[in-house]
């Protein structure tokens, strides 16, 4: 069937009409751009301190890795009591000590030449390896070619993770056993994001999900792996986020998937067996609250969104949750309910009980 010759003109006219109906406030937008660029300009004012911290970190790698959970806590004063934000937006992934506010940038040596950090920076459970998702800087950054590799924290040696061809890697997570890396592959040209489990020992990837192409648009899933090797991941009920989300579960070695939680997204397997998750909000990817599914199956809300909650991660002792609300990271103490804004950017991982890995 050949499209009607006038159809192109009809579509053009409709798009033109729709676009021109918009009211654009360019002066206000210019002010916003000025503010954002000013924020970036202010960061170089602290470059001396950050460069010093980075140099110290790089030198320390020769003797001891600050990135291992087994490493020594940074020297400094005792736990901070200030409830205010401790860190504001270094434009580089960094480690943030919640007690002292100390910021240590991730070594740039973890990146291949010509690449920038993508959405993945995940430290293995034993602290000895880091999964690094990187995007080729030119020509389109993370909208173009991306890679996944595992880097030795001690030696810096990089091992590429072989992924099925044709796609980019939006993110990856370690299984608690350290033997598997679960990643999502965005397969071009349809952009379907299936989950795969990469076996570190064999170098093979097993596909975990099978999302029907006809009901899919494009999205990034959020997933977590339990201590018994079950991959929890979210998935919209149809191709549209406003239709709702459920949390599914599938063995890390592959197999049948079943629904674990309804009306939930962004699951986080807590070390004590509970599941933290984001309460979905209709019409948007970001959710309205953080909740916990207790071991007895009951659900309780622990924090509500100021802006919109992206994801939540659990501290190693399951006593605190870090979650992203808008563009900020918050930490909540589950025993007291006290929560505080700790940093700009998204919390990617708890390095240890007092240290968060932040992605700007």
């Amino acid at each position: 069937m050949t499209p009607h010759p006038d159809l192109a003109a009809i579509v053009h006219a409709a798009l033109e009409q729709e676009a021109q109906a918009m009211t654009i406030d360019t002066p206000s937008a210019a002010n916003r751009l000025n503010r954002e660029l000013e924020t970036r300009r202010r960061n170089p004012a602290t470059t001396a301190g950050l460069v010093a911290a980075a140099i110290i970190a790089l030198l320390a790698l020769a003797f001891w890795s600050p990135w291992s959970p087994k490493g020594t806590q940074p020297a400094g004063p005792g736990p901070a009591s200030s409830p205010s934000a401790l860190s504001d937006a270094p434009q580089w992934p960094h480690e943030l000590n919640l007690s002292t506010g100390a910021v240590t940038e991730v070594p740039r040596t973890w990146l291949p030449d010509g690449y920038e950090f993508g959405t993945t920076l995940a430290i293995s459970p034993d602290g000895e390896r880091v999964a690094v998702g990187a995007c080729l800087l030119e020509p389109r950054g993370c909208d173009g070619e991306s890679t996944l590799s595992v880097v030795s924290v001690d030696t810096g040696a990089r091992t590429p993770v072989s992924v099925p061809p044709g796609g980019g890697v939006p993110g990856s997570t370690w299984a608690p056993d350290g033997r598997h890396l679960v990643y999502q592959l965005s397969e071009m040209p349809n952009g379907i994001g299936e989950l795969y489990a990469y076996d570190i020992a064999t170098g093979r990837s097993t596909r975990l999900t099978d999302i029907p192409i006809e009901s899919a648009s494009w999205w990034s899933l959020t997933w977590s792996v339990t201590s018994d090797g079950t991959v929890l991941h979210d998935r919209p009920t149809t191709g549209w986020s406003s239709a709702g989300w459920n949390v599914w579960q599938v063995p890390v070695g592959g197999g049948a998937a079943t629904i674990r939680l309804r009306d939930a997204r962004a699951p986080e397997a807590m070390p004590d067996g509970r599941i933290a998750f984001v309460v979905p909000r209709e019409g948007t990817w970001e959710g309205s609250a953080v909740a916990i599914a207790e071991r007895d199956g009951s659900l309780r809300t622990v924090a509500t969104a100021a802006s919109g909650i992206g994801r939540v991660i659990s501290s190693p002792d399951s006593r605190r949750l870090a979650y992203t609300d808008g563009d900020r990271t918050w930490v909540i103490d589950l025993a007291t309910g006290e929560k505080r804004d700790v940093a700009a950017g998204a919390a990617a991982q708890w390095v240890d009980e007092e240290t968060l890995l932040i992605l700007p």
């Binding site: 069937m1 210019a30 800087l137 020509p139 939006p170 349809n190 494009w218 549209w240 019409g283």
Partner: protein
């Protein structure tokens, strides 16, 4: 963006190249391109992502990216192409800022129809836009680039890094879907 030297008079078309003097600073160029192209880029992004706030965010990201990556541009006079590419691809993916969203929401979550939908040809306009909004993301991108930005197939293929054949296919399928909505076939 007051206080910055402007390089060219105000223009209205996206992609209009502005010859950049060799001594132009990054701030001058970004300010000038912002004046020239912000509105059009937001309109373009809005046709792909549906809501104005996301479109504004995408375009803002493109300008901050241009500012940040200025030294990596091979030819500063191609900055407008970089912006357009950022916006077109950024509308489909916002990985750069780790703000991952669904780009294609159900019509119930989309913004209310504009006043133009009830203009003289309101029913057709509403039907056409509803059909375009329901297209898969890639088809919608191609339709906007081909029929709003009037980009050639080869240019679309280059920006999206797909084959010309894929561009033809997405374009044909997108038009066919709109045609079905209007019950226009040949």
């Amino acid at each position: 963006m007051e206080g910055l030297r402007r390089l060219a008079p105000r223009a209205t078309s996206v992609g209009a190249p502005t010859q950049i003097p060799p001594d132009a600073t990054r701030e001058d160029v970004v300010a000038t391109l912002f004046d020239l192209q912000y509105a059009t880029l937001v309109r373009t992004a809005r046709l792909i992502v549906d809501d104005v706030a996301t479109a504004e965010d995408v375009v803002m990201d493109a300008f901050t990216s241009l500012h940040r990556r200025w030294h990596t541009l091979r030819d500063p006079n191609e900055a407008h192409r970089y912006l357009r590419s950022c916006v077109l691809n950024g509308a489909r993916s916002q990985l750069r800022r780790r703000r991952v969203r669904l780009l294609h929401t159900a019509t119930a979550a989309a913004e209310p129809a504009s006043a133009t939908d009830v203009a003289t040809d309101g029913s057709n306009h509403a039907a056409v836009m509803a059909a375009i909004r329901s297209l898969p993301t890639r088809q919608r991108q191609v339709i906007v680039m081909r029929f709003y930005l009037d980009m050639a197939e080869a240019e679309v293929a280059d920006v999206l890094e797909i084959s010309v054949g894929s561009v033809k296919q997405h374009s044909a399928r997108g038009l066919a879907a709109v045609g079905r909505a209007l019950e226009v076939t040949e």
